[in-house]
C-alpha cells in the first residue's frame, strides 16, 4: 500500500497554448512532481491579495511520459477560476496546485481494452491524456474515442487527433457536432444517444473498458446507455464535471 500526502505546490507556467476559441492549454513545470496516471486530475487554487481563495479541479491532459504537466482549461463565461486561467495567467506566473488526484478514473496501457472513450466538450481532456499515454508507450490496444463538440472550431486537439489516427489503425476518433457543422460535414450531428453508442462501441462479449467524461447530465445519459447496451457497470468509469465548472 502506498502512503502519500498530496501537498500544495507552486508550479511555473512555461507556456500558454490556445487550443480553440474558448480553451487554452497551460504547460507547467511542477517542482518534485512524482508522476501521474492518465485520467487523474489536479486541484488548482487561486489566492487574491485579501486572502480570498477559489479552488477547482482540472484534468491532466499530458501523458505521464511527457516532461511537463499540461492542463487544458475551458473558459466558462461566468466562471471564477477559468477566465483567470485563460485570460490573465501568463508565462512566468506561478500556479498553486496539488496532485495527482484520483486513482479511480485512470487507464494504463497494461489495463488493456478494447477501450471506449466518450467525451463531451472539455470532458475530452482526461481521455486525451489516456490517448497520449497510449501513443507514448506504443500500445496497440484498440481504442475508439466518441467525442461530442458544439462545432468544428470547438473540437479540442483536432489536428493532433487527426495525426494520431492517420498513423495508427487501432485508434479511431468519431466526432459528433451538436450545434453547428461545416457545409460538407458527413459525420454525426446530434447529441450522443444509445443508438450512436450502439454503432460505435464494441460488443459486450469483447468486454470493453469504457471511460465517460463531461458535464453531469451527459455522463449520466451515456453511462446508463452503455449499461443498457450490455456493458458491465464495473467496466464503465465515469467522471462528471457538474453542471458548471468554474
Amino acid at each position: 500500500m502506498q502512503l502519500y500526502r498530496i501537498l500544495w505546490r507552486l508550479a511555473d507556467v512555461v507556456e500558454v497554448v490556445p487550443e480553440t476559441p474558448r480553451t487554452k492549454s497551460l504547460v507547467l513545470d511542477v517542482p518534485e512532481w512524482e508522476g501521474h496516471k492518465a485520467g487523474q486530475h489536479v486541484d488548482v487554487k487561486l489566492t487574491a491579495p485579501d486572502g480570498y481563495q477559489a479552488q477547482r479541479s482540472y484534468s491532466i491532459a499530458s501523458a505521464p511520459e511527457d516532461e511537463r504537466l499540461v492542463l487544458t482549461v475551458d473558459r466558462l463565461d461566468d466562471g471564477e477560476v477559468s477566465p483567470y486561467l485563460t485570460d490573465v495567467l501568463m508565462v512566468g506566473d506561478k500556479l498553486e496546485l496539488r496532485g495527482p488526484i484520483g486513482g479511480y478514473f485512470t487507464w494504463e496501457a497494461k489495463d488493456g481494452g478494447p477501450l471506449l472513450l466518450v467525451g463531451g466538450g472539455s470532458g475530452v481532456v482526461p481521455l486525451m491524456g489516456m490517448i497520449r499515454h497510449r501513443a507514448a508507450v506504443g500500445s496497440d490496444v484498440p481504442t475508439r474515442l466518441l467525442y461530442s463538440s458544439r462545432s468544428y472550431e470547438e473540437i479540442i486537439y483536432r489536428k493532433e487527433l487527426e495525426d494520431l489516427t492517420a498513423r495508427d489503425g487501432a485508434l479511431e476518433v468519431i466526432h459528433t457536432l451538436t450545434r453547428s457543422r461545416p457545409q460538407d460535414w458527413s459525420g454525426y450531428d446530434r447529441r450522443i444517444d444509445a443508438e450512436m453508442l450502439a454503432e460505435v462501441t464494441w460488443f459486450p462479449d469483447e468486454s470493453p473498458l469504457a471511460f465517460v467524461c463531461g458535464p453531469t447530465p451527459f455522463v449520466e445519459a451515456v453511462g446508463s446507455a452503455l449499461v443498457g447496451l450490455g456493458h458491465e457497470p464495473a467496466r464503465v468509469k465515469t467522471e462528471r464535471f457538474g453542471a458548471t465548472g468554474g
Binding site: 500500500m1 502506498q2 502512503l3 502519500y4 500526502r5 498530496i6 486530475h41 486541484d43 479541479s57 496539488r98 496532485g99 488526484i101 484520483g102 486513482g103 479511480y104 478514473f105 458535464p215 453531469t216 447530465p217 449520466e220 468509469k237 465515469t238 467522471e239 462528471r240 464535471f241 457538474g242 453542471a243
Partner: protein, 86 residues
C-alpha cells in the same frame, strides 16, 4: 437528475487531506443498504464552502460527510460499515 452531483473522484483531493491512502479505489460497504463498491463510483455533493458529502449510489445514504471549518477538519464516517484498501 441532479446536475450538481459528481463522482467520487471529485472528492479525492478533499478526502486526500484526511486519508493517507488512495481513497477513490478503496472499497466501502454502505451502512444503510449494504451495497459495496469503490468510493470513486460513489456520488459526491460538493457543497461549496460548507462541506463534501459522499453518498451511496444505490440508496443515497451519506457514506462520508466532511467539512472544513477554517483550519479544522470534521469527518463523519458513520455511513460506512467499513472502508478497505485491500
Amino acid at each position: 437528475m441532479d446536475e450538481l452531483r459528481l463522482d467520487g473522484n471529485a472528492a479525492a483531493g478533499t478526502l486526500g487531506e484526511v486519508f493517507s491512502f488512495e481513497v477513490t479505489t478503496a472499497e466501502y460497504a454502505c451502512g444503510g443498504c449494504g451495497r459495496t463498491g469503490r468510493l470513486g463510483g460513489a456520488m459526491v455533493y460538493e457543497v461549496r464552502g460548507l462541506g463534501t458529502i459522499v453518498r451511496c449510489p444505490s440508496c443515497d445514504d451519506a457514506l462520508i460527510r466532511l467539512a472544513h471549518n477554517r483550519e479544522r477538519h470534521m469527518v463523519d464516517l458513520r455511513g460506512m460499515r467499513y472502508l478497505t484498501t485491500g
